[in-house]
Symmetry: C2
Subunit: 652 residues, 2 copies
Amino acid sequence: MDFQLKAHDASGRLATFSTTHGTITTPTLLPVINPNKMLITPTEMRRRFHTDILITNSYIIFKDPRLRQTALDHGVHRLLHFTGAIMTDSGTFQSHVYGDVHLDPIQIVEFQRDIKTDIGTILDIFSEPHHTRLEAEDGMTTTIQRAAASLPHKGPMMLACPVQGGLYPDLRTRCAQSLSQLHADVYPIGGVVPLMETQRYTDLTMVIVASKQGLDPSRPVHLFGAGHPLVFPLAAALGCDLFDSAAYAKYAADDRYILPWGTEKLPDLSDLPCSCPICSKYAAEDLQDMTGEERVRTLALHNLYISYAELRTIRTAITEGWLWELVEQRASMNPFLSDAVRYLQEPSTHLFLEAHEPQSKTRALRYTGPTTIFRPTLQRYHQHLLTRYNPLFSTTLVIPERTKPFSRSYAQLASMLSKLMADIVVDSSLGPVPLALDEMYPCAQSIFPDHVDLETRQETNRRLKEFLKSQTVLHWTPEGGLPTTLLGPADDLDVRRIRAVADMQFGLGAAASLFSGKVNIQKSKATQKIRTVSVDGDHVVSMRAEDGLFTLKIAGAHRLHAALPAPHLRVTIQDDAIPFVLDGKSVFAKFVESCDPDLRPGDECLIVDGHDTLIGVGRLLLSPDEAAAFSVGVAVKPRETTPVQATPGHKV
Amino acid sequence: MDFQLKAHDASGRLATFSTTHGTITTPTLLPVINPNKMLITPTEMRRRFHTDILITNSYIIFKDPRLRQTALDHGVHRLLHFTGAIMTDSGTFQSHVYGDVHLDPIQIVEFQRDIKTDIGTILDIFSEPHHTRLEAEDGMTTTIQRAAASLPHKGPMMLACPVQGGLYPDLRTRCAQSLSQLHADVYPIGGVVPLMETQRYTDLTMVIVASKQGLDPSRPVHLFGAGHPLVFPLAAALGCDLFDSAAYAKYAADDRYILPWGTEKLPDLSDLPCSCPICSKYAAEDLQDMTGEERVRTLALHNLYISYAELRTIRTAITEGWLWELVEQRASMNPFLSDAVRYLQEPSTHLFLEAHEPQSKTRALRYTGPTTIFRPTLQRYHQHLLTRYNPLFSTTLVIPERTKPFSRSYAQLASMLSKLMADIVVDSSLGPVPLALDEMYPCAQSIFPDHVDLETRQETNRRLKEFLKSQTVLHWTPEGGLPTTLLGPADDLDVRRIRAVADMQFGLGAAASLFSGKVNIQKSKATQKIRTVSVDGDHVVSMRAEDGLFTLKIAGAHRLHAALPAPHLRVTIQDDAIPFVLDGKSVFAKFVESCDPDLRPGDECLIVDGHDTLIGVGRLLLSPDEAAAFSVGVAVKPRETTPVQATPGHKV
């Protein structure tokens, strides 16, 4: 099992997944191949779509004496003429469609192993949405038993064990936990096709989140039967890595033309609203004039081009940090999906999402509509404001949105405000922004329109009130002038800024420890922005231009380590790994013992040994649960180490 | 000039536009060809993109002795090796970029005529966004003078006269009116490139709406220099028919990769988030490995594939009636565009939009977010409710949303409610829906999520209150039971339904005239929905299954004609056309004398002569301003005529 995370956004991840038939990049799509009837052959798929993994059905091969013999003699790769990775399903979906299939659960796993599938699947029990709790629990128990019984027979094959449990979130989570303890290779989420067929996306979301909450985060998650691109962005944002599409062929057979935002009937189209090679070549009437196999095949090609492009869009969005924007945009075209995105605001779901959300992104956050303000990033920002922001004065001056950064009068205003004995807060579209935080992600790195919706305004008002609750509040308007009664000596805005950012980023008390002593702030000559901060001659932190957050230097790490008790900011590693880290090597996930649960992917962290001795400082590349669970890949990129103090095994 | 409208949605239109080099379907894109440097040749464009019209610059050809001679000797089509339609620009844009160009305005028009351009352009004065009112007015006056002076020289060429006037809406409208009186062939909207370059989409919207308000609706409108697909849906929804793209090449030269929702820098991309033939063939790194001309050309091809696909998407959206959905979805990805969509709620803009919006669409209306409730369709519905809906009782019972149509208990509920001596109104996500209107567009033909945003809820609450203001109101909840004090004899819901729909569709008083006498309602056996209504034995109306609105039969037309005074529902035609209409032929736009300004494209209308004698009944295919302005194409499809009474020239 070699599954390595390369980038995070939302709760989604970009990863590489190695098989004996090549390494694939996830999230990706596995087109379904019917071994009896290949509408598009695997060879053509490879040529047209760069298909590097597909899925076929071992039950169909098993039932057909000719296919079965060829597969056993030459392997499933030869049977399908495909050199990439092959996953097989087991007949479970057939049991959902046709009722019971007569099959021995172990025999079908052994068969998959014998035909040299890369990833086989156990014969799990499909849990129907209408199942009672008892039925769902029964099926789940059988699924877990079969997983336990099947795993010893998998041989060199990877084995997928689907999470079941119907619409009962606790059952889904329990099932996921039990399966995770069995160390399967891939975890599909099963029993969801009926939900997607009826556009029950809120239920689908509930099922995915509940399953993910119990699953080992180091294994790929497959959303079984998800073939319409409409669900891909949301499912990927919830942490699904693999999708499989029979839809491309099924929809084509039914004259249905797939779009990222829905489905059209081919006869209804006067133009082809798509840029794919099929739609760029043909006019709508060309397709409508086709008949039989040619028509179905051509439509299926379109459907696959669109589906693969949506996966590339998702991977781009993860790398660049705009997956939520993509999810919200897709939801705007489908009211049922829109309800599902609303469901993400539920507290339990929100907690799951926040735990995986990176602290900062390479792209500015963009407003798409009323759900933006409830994104994990903005909820977390507000939570940190309440718990980590320390006002300097007991009076707060609230200034309206349009005087915030980027407005022309801002520089003047800021210099005037620096003479006020008051804390200054901008009443902005993303909530209250203290002046000292206005260069920190997400405050400066966000794009809101002039006119946001009423719900956003109401929510930001609520947040402003909550933030100001114990303060004396004055409101300032451009016409009103400044309250001269509060004039004091000019204040150093830069010092306010570094102190506020340090507490927001590392926790309350961080500023006090980092900046005690003689502080020297170096600024960029070009931009006048803070670059580095030294204290008593030691370079403690640098401020990143792109997100206004700090990178920690070792001198800063020592200060935080001394001031903030474990497990705060800590990644604890095994002694074996220490010499490598001291040698400048990365911290591999398998050497991580534990991790501060408040850390997020991309965060600065303190690398310590089992006795909380500081080894170094670096950047965490995983979420804490991933860092603990993964046995391959890099967990922390060290920046600096402390060669003197750290000797493995010796407490200092 | 042969420009014919085929379909309407929002204020956008699908049309055919004939030139001596072929008929094109609009909205469409004219790629810009630089005659000195063809990154992609017109031949390749034709092959790859089915390009049937392009634009080049006559000023560049004029300035280059070799190009000039070839163009004069063999024509511009031979110069570019292109057999489709060619439009030329005049050097105005060069004056914007480089300052004054030394060119005689008449000479450049004659030159364009002499090189046999299909559509030439006058040398107008580019109005810059920073122009003062005086500067803008000066430039506008010169532009109008030059148009007047140039038109006599155009020969067989069509001539485009751009609307200028800077950011002053009254100047834009005045300029458009003056140019319209000169009967040019095409009306570009000029001076907008700087607005698009700085994403000032609200200003762009204001400029387009102000220009359109003064323009002859029978001529194609070209948004000059609009090359990024981001603006296409909104501009098309405001009635722009032609776009031109130099962006495909300029962006490519700058390593920029165009997407329908924005732009990416090629080096930033780890995947290609697009389905076009380029992005389906190459990986991101393949493009990044290319250098020089190959890289620019390949990026330019992608940029054009994406741009053409967006135009096809727009044409599909117009045909199927989801152009607003497309506009709102695109706006959700760009905060500046989002502000522009908000601007459409301004009363003056709204009036313009409502005047062109069809009464009903083939697709259900879909919620995309907080701007949906302000769409022209939903604002008009509410306006009609206030002015045309006639409650039967002075007490109104308000029932909550989730008991509205499609909920399971609805049929039972409806039968119970029919015994109440109260008017019954559903408090729904699109505003108040009286029970009698719940099968009429847009009430039944709309899809809202369970959770709409607060702004929508507040607006629908406001509409409910406004609607109920003179009523005694009772609120019903599923738990509360029915107010038995109001129980009366069972009421005929069908009669309520036909009366309410008739008044909403045709105006207050329509029901009284249509249904006075012995009413017989025929229903579909399969669906139990109303199909036809006869009164005193005459079939007066049929109810359409798709939108719950009526089609008028001639007996109904007579009743409405007698009851509602002119110009209500009338399309007045010239006497010459009457024999053709009586013969079952369509009413061509050139025979339309006048038209009730309250009619909308797709509406039922009364065809009358100059003395208000009823000739027939039919369906209006244009908006009233279009019906009056167009001299080609069909204005009304007659359904039935009145052969007996109507004799041309004789008043009955």
